[in-house]
Structures are given as structure tokens and as C-alpha cells.
Amino acid sequence: MYLITHKEKLSPTITKYVVKAPFIAPKRKAGNFVILRVEEHGERIPITIVDSDTNAGTITLIVQAIGKTTKLLATKNVGDSILDVVGPLGNPTPIENHGAVVCIGGGVGTAEMLPIAKALKKAGNTIYTIIGARSKELIILENEMKEFSDKTFITTDDGSYGKKGVVTDQLKDLLDAPLGISAVYAIGPLPMMKFVSLLTKQYNVHTLVSLNAIMVDGTGMCGGCRVTIGGEMKFACVDGPEFDGHHVDFDEMIMRSRSYLDMEKISDELFTTQHQCQLEK
């Protein structure tokens, strides 16, 4: 059992959890994730570790409630426990001094970008950050990202905050400017990462994306998270989760990520009906 010691809403649907996980806390590095199972009947889902505190033996997770499992997690409060948490999983993000880099966080992907931006800054990079979301209420961790960024840009699809548009508009401006951008790190929805990669390929700028594939065990056992990278089959859980964006077959991955949409909807609706009052709190 993994005790929730702190809970904080970052947006109406995005919540930060600090969870007691004393074995994982000292071992985690930027880019690592955990697989968690909230309750006995629950499924196993991968969640990126945003931060950790070795002394307190805790890890920080930031989760958007978009389906049954993430909504169930949102009903848990400080003092409650998550049944299973295993990690740290996946390979840590390769951190080096590229000179100038762009860090792009789309939606809740900004949370996953935070530890990477922090590590890249520490490695001596100049950091240009782009945070993008559909609307203002989904922009999270702006101040935290600013702390490690030399310059931060915000874009929203509806223009309710920052510049109206998508992250690639801002990215193009940065790539066109004489800033010497030599690497781009992008985490967010699959279409966002796809279009970032297509753009940076034109500029021949190295791009790293994080693939949140469907996983069961997260340890290389099931192969459910298989992705095609440069024509080869890779498992996102043990070979990734980060890959060279120019080699990822995004269209296949997008198709695969939709494999259970209808069943996810059944679970979600069932849960929402049963927990209406709790969710409204």
C-alpha cells in the first residue's frame, strides 16, 4: 500500500499527488515512470514520476482525470492509499549539454517535461519552454517551468491564455530565429508530438518524444506497448519510453492507442454513474 501524503488540484481535472514509495524515491531519474493499480479490481496504468524526495521517501505524480482509473484515483485523498506502485520503470531521459534546447509540454505532458527541463538546465542548457493546451484552465506548472527556463511561451488553442494557436507555431518561430536550437524535447498528446517531429525534421534538429503506449506490466513482458521505430519493433516500457521523434511511426501508434476506446468508455460511464456525488466534490 502506497500512502497519499499530499494532494493538490492544479486544474479542474489535473491533480498532483505525493505518494509514499520509499524504495522508488531514491532511485528515480528524469523520464522514469511507475505503473500503478489503484484498487483490487483496477487496471495497471503507467504514470511518469514528476519529482521525488529521498528523505521523505515520496514521489510526485501529476495525473489528469480522463478515464475510469484516473477518475478513481481522483477520489482518493490524503491518508488513503494506492494499492500497487512499481518502479522506477523505463530508461531515464538522456541528458546532455546541447547548448540551446526547446522543451515542449502539451497539456498534462507539461508535468512530465518538468523534471527533464530541470535536468537539462542543470546540465548547462539554455532552455526555451513552450507550454501548450486547449485552453487556459489546462495550462499547468507555468511558474515551476519558468524556474528552469530561460524563456517561456504559452499557447492555447482557443487563445484564452498566451498566444492563440498550437505549440508548433511557436516552435517554428524559435527554429527560425538565430538561437542555435540543437535539440527539442516534446511530451504531450500523440498528434502534438507527431507534428513537432515533422517540423523539426525539416530543420534537422534532434527531437526526443515520450510515448505513453498502452501497457499492462510495464516491465517488458506483455509487448502491448510495442511501437515501430525506424522500421523496428520496440517496447515503449523497456526500450523507451523516449524515442527519436523522427523515427517514430506515429500513425500506427495513434491507431494502437485507440484499441480499447469503446471499452474504456463503458468503464468510464459505469464509474461516473456510480460515483457522481464523489466526483462533484
Binding site: F23, I24, K27, R37, H41, G42, E43, R44, K68, T69, L83, D84, V85, V86, G87, P88, L89, V216, D217, T219, G220, M221, C222, G223, G224, R226, V227, T228, M233, V238, E252, M255, R256, R258, S259, Y260, M263, E264, I266, S267, L270
Partner: protein, 494 residues
């Protein structure tokens, strides 16, 4: 040992081999309840009378863990069922599991003297009978541990090899800790073998019994990531480590269309069903997708488990596609037979070449080639050769590949000094010792994909070797006085 049975051998030979009571095929293909209920007491007593009580019981030599079969059968004859199960537990701590999943027909029962002219004694079914009797009547008592050892041993992986090694070292009084990456213990016994062959309740009970020996269990602990092998030695202060991490990485055929939605590795398909209970969706959250027509590729036990599971999940037509003939199938005869009874359609001498999909990237068919058997290959089995222009397509909406597994590489990649073989297996000597001092290994991690009982045999041999290693380390002078159970080492199948 005196004979217990007063019948003459010729009389014993006249008794017919007793059969398990089973769920009807038409009924069981719709549920996940256990297929076989085993022998009842009456049948078990009749079966025990068939044992010839050989002076030289060869059956024990056929057992990878060296169970004293003649003695436990004699105890059954005397209706001392608890005595019988305790006799088994002296050498095999997990009889309820072995009685269900061991391939006795190629081990103890294959060399049973009765089997030379008649059907062999149903040793496996008798083992299961006494284990189930003990369980049903709540008669289990943990063996007394006479001597406590101060040394700490880490067991990595809680599959059959790890559980056996942990139990044997626990019985010897060592401070044993099991580390399991998943949220439930058992390894392949939990994620791989379906409920209808091995109820998970049995596994939970065996786990409790291992804990009753003082063994500690950490689930959700992935050695290599949560802590490395070096950290287990240096920070956790373990004196020896046993690696039993199995062969959990699925292989794929490498044919076009494998990444379409609706294509599973057998590992994923079985893990979703067994570990995550996807058959109870939406009561359980993990989904699984089953087409009206499904195809499983492969001819091993995993393929049989997958195709029988698919049938139970509601597939109207479940095909098993195998490139050789029925004779070459590596699966147990009993599993093949059960699959046939349940209406699985076998497409033999058939090799898939391509998985076909619709515009939404969903599987809608599989293209295959007809094969014929040619000359024997390295494995001694006749090699399948494609017949020209024999392509045909079967409409299916789900494809499950059960074409083999490799060891998970995480520990090998994060541990220095560990010799790794060609297929990613960890190299061990005849007592399961690896190339690095204090580290032992066994089961599928060293074999690359074998059976539960061979893994248990490895775990047992390793436990002896670890005991010897720790005792010698403690008092190097006493080498000659050590009583190592060499007969176990000698009979361990390699």
C-alpha cells in the same frame, strides 16, 4: 521398505487406471472454473492399489525434485493422506501446483514399471488428491524449523523456481526474502497458466504456506530497477541471491501486420486474462478484445492455454495454427486433448505469412501457407517446408502469437560479471551457480522456456548449493563435514 499392499502384482495389473472427474467439455468451454476436479477418495484408493511397490522405484528418478513416490503412495493405501502429503513436501513444497501442471507423462509416469505393459500409475493425480485433501480439511502444519541461520538470501522472481528455492531455504532456517515485480506472486503460475488449469486460490494458499516458514515477500519490486543486484548485496546485505526471473519477454514472428489492433502476444493475452481478470470486464477494469473468429499461432502449452482461454471468452471459432503436424506439437497430450474436446479447430501444417487489417487498422484476416514435412532438423523433428502457391486467408478478428519467450534482460543488463548465453539466458553450472560468486539462477531464465517442474528442480538444486556455499563461507574448515544431499544434485534433470 515393506510392501503395504497384500494383492499380488498380477492382481494389481488387472485394475484399470482411474480417471479424474472432469467438467463436461460443452459446459467448461463457457466458464473459467477448473477443468479437472481430480480423483475422489474412492478412485484414489483404487489407483494407489495399482502401484507395484517396486524394490527399485524408478519413478523417483523421473522426478526432477526426487519425490519419494512409492512411500507416499503406500501412505495413501493406509489412508494416511496427511502423512502422504507431508512425505511429498519433504522434497516438493508445492504439491497442489505440481499435481495439476506437471507433465507426469514424460517424467515419473513415463518410466513407471506398471507402464511397461499397462497404463502407468496416475502419480500426478494421486499427488493432487492428497494435496487437495489436506487443503479441503485444513490440515496443513508448517514443518518445524530446527535451526535458525543468520544468513540472508534474496530470491528474485516468485515463479516456480523462486518459490521452491525460497521454501527449501526457509525450511533450513535462512532469512529469505522474495522480490516480485508484479502485484501478485507466482510468476508464470499467476500471469500465464489460466484459472481453469490452476485456480489462483491454490497459488495464494501456497504463498501463505511459504510465508509460514518465515519467508518475507515484497511485491511491486523490480530487481534491476527498484534495486540492483549490487545494491541487494551492498545495501540490503544479502549473502546470496537466487535469480528465477523466468522467460517473460515475448517473441513475435516478424510477419507483416503484427502491430495491428487485435494482435496480442500470448503473454499479453494471458496476463490480461489471468493476472488482471479481464474475463470479468467491466467488473474488473482491464479490457480484452475477442473476435468471433480468433487464431492462435503456436503448438506449445502456452498456445493451448491461449486458445482455450479465447474460446471461454466467447470466440465462436477458435483456430490453432501450427506449422508442423500434431505429433510434433510440444504441448502436453492432455492439453491438446482438452483443446480438441472443447472444439478448438487445429490448422496443422499451416504457416501464417501475413496478418491482414481493415481501414481502421483492425485485424480482419490471416494469410497462411500450407506446409509439408521434410527432413528432420537439428531438434530431430521433421522440418516443415512450404507448398508453393498454397496461400489461403482465414477471416479472424483476433490473432494471438504464442511462438516463444525469452528471458527479460533487465537484470542481465544491470549486473556486471554475469555470463549470458546466446538467447539471453543466464549461464549456470550443474548446481545452478552463475559466473558471479553468491549468485545462483534457475528455471526459464537459464533454460529459455521449459516446464514448471524443471524450474522447481532447479530451485531445489540451487537451494542445496546456496546452503553449501553459505556454510563453507561461514566455516571454511568444515568443508569435509558438510552433509550435502547429493542424491538430489545427481537426479536433477539438466
Amino acid at each position: 521398505m515393506q510392501n503395504v499392499n497384500t494383492m499380488k502384482p498380477s492382481e494389481r495389473m488387472k485394475i484399470a487406471r482411474q480417471h479424474s472427474i472432469e467438467q463436461e467439455a460443452s459446459e467448461r468451454k463457457k466458464n473459467f472454473l477448473e477443468v479437472s476436479f481430480g480423483l475422489n477418495e474412492e478412485r484414489a484408493l483404487i489407483e494407489a492399489k495399482r502401484c507395484l511397490e517396486c524394490k527399485n522405484p524408478v519413478c523417483t528418478e523421473g522426478c526432477p525434485v526426487g519425490i519419494d513416490i512409492r512411500s507416499f503412495v503406500q501412505l495413501i493405501l493406509q489412508k494416511d493422506y496427511v502423512g502422504a502429503v507431508q512425505k511429498i513436501r519433504e522434497t516438493n513444497y508445492l504439491p497442489a501446483i505440481c499435481g495439476r501442471v506437471c507433465p507426469q507423462e514424460t517424467q515419473c509416469e513415463q518410466i513407471c514399471t506398471m507402464g511397461k505393459k499397462h497404463e502407468p500409475v496416475a502419480i500426478g493425480k494421486l499427488e493432487r488428491f492428497v494435496a487437495d485433501f489436506e487443503l479441503a480439511n485444513n490440515l496443513f502444519h508448517p514443518p518445524t524449523i530446527t535451526e535458525r541461520q543468520e544468513e540472508k538470501v534474496a530470491i528474485v522472481g516468485s515463479g516456480p523456481a523462486g518459490l521452491t528455492c525460497a521454501a527449501e531455504l526457509g525450511k533450513r532456517g535462512y532469512q529469505v526474502t522474495i522480490f516480485e515485480a508484479l502485484h501478485g506472486i507466482g510468476g508464470v503460475l499467476r500471469y500465464g497458466i489460466p484459472e481453469f488449469r490452476l485456480p489462483k486460490k491454490i497459488l495464494d494458499i501456497e504463498a501463505e504456506r511459504i510465508q509460514a516458514l518465515g519467508v518475507k515477500i515484497y511485491t511491486n519490486f523490480l530487481v534491476g530497477r527498484t534495486a540492483t543486484i549490487d545494491e541487494l548485496f551492498d545495501e540490503w546485505k544479502f549473502d546470496a541471491i537466487f535469480l528465477g526471473t523466468g522467460a517473460g519477454t515475448p517473441s513475435f514472428m516478424g510477419i507483416p501486420g503484427e502491430n495491428l489492433s487485435g494482435v496480442y502476444s500470448a503473454n499479453e493475452f494471458l496476463t490480461r486474462t489471468n493476472l488482471m481478470k479481464a474475463y470479468s470486464f467491466p467488473e474488473y477494469d482491464t479490457p480484452i478484445r475477442i473476435g468471433q473468429q480468433i487464431a492462435v499461432i503456436g503448438g506449445g502449452n502456452t498456445a493451448m492455454d491461449a486458445v482455450r482461454t479465447a474460446k471461454r471468452l466467447g470466440a465462436e471459432r477458435a483456430y490453432l495454427i501450427y506449422r508442423r503436424s500434431r505429433e510434433e506439437m510440444p504441448a502436453r497430450e492432455e492439453e491438446i486433448h482438452h483443446a480438441e474436446e472443447e472444439g478448438i479447430e487445429f490448422l496443422l501444417l499451416t504457416n501464417p505469412t501475413k496478418i491482414l487489417g481493415d481501414k481502421n487498422n483492425w485485424v480482419n484476416g490471416i494469410e497462411c501457407l500450407k506446409m509439408e514435412l521434410g527432413e528432420p532438423d537439428d531438434s530431430g523433428r521433421r522440418k516443415p517446408v512450404a507448398i508453393n502457391d498454397s496461400e489461403f486467408v482465414i477471416p479472424v478478428q483476433t490473432v494471438i502469437e504464442a511462438v516463444g519467450q525469452k528471458p527479460n534482460p533487465i537484470i542481465q543488463q544491470t549486473t556486471s560479471g554475469l555470463n549470458v548465453g546466446k538467447r539471453g539466458t543466464v549461464v549456470v553450472n550443474d548446481v545452478q551457480q552463475t559466473s558471479r560468486e553468491g549468485i545462483f539462477a534457475g528455471g526459464d531464465l537459464t533454460r529459455g522456456g521449459a516446464t514448471v517442474i524443471l524450474a522447481m528442480g532447479d530451485g531445489k538444486i540451487a537451494s542445496e548449493a546456496i546452503h553449501k556455499y553459505l556454510q563453507e563461507k561461514k566455516s571454511p574448515k568444515k568443508n569435509g563435514e558438510l552433509k550435502i544431499e547429493n542424491e538430489v544434485l545427481a537426479t536433477g534433470a539438466k
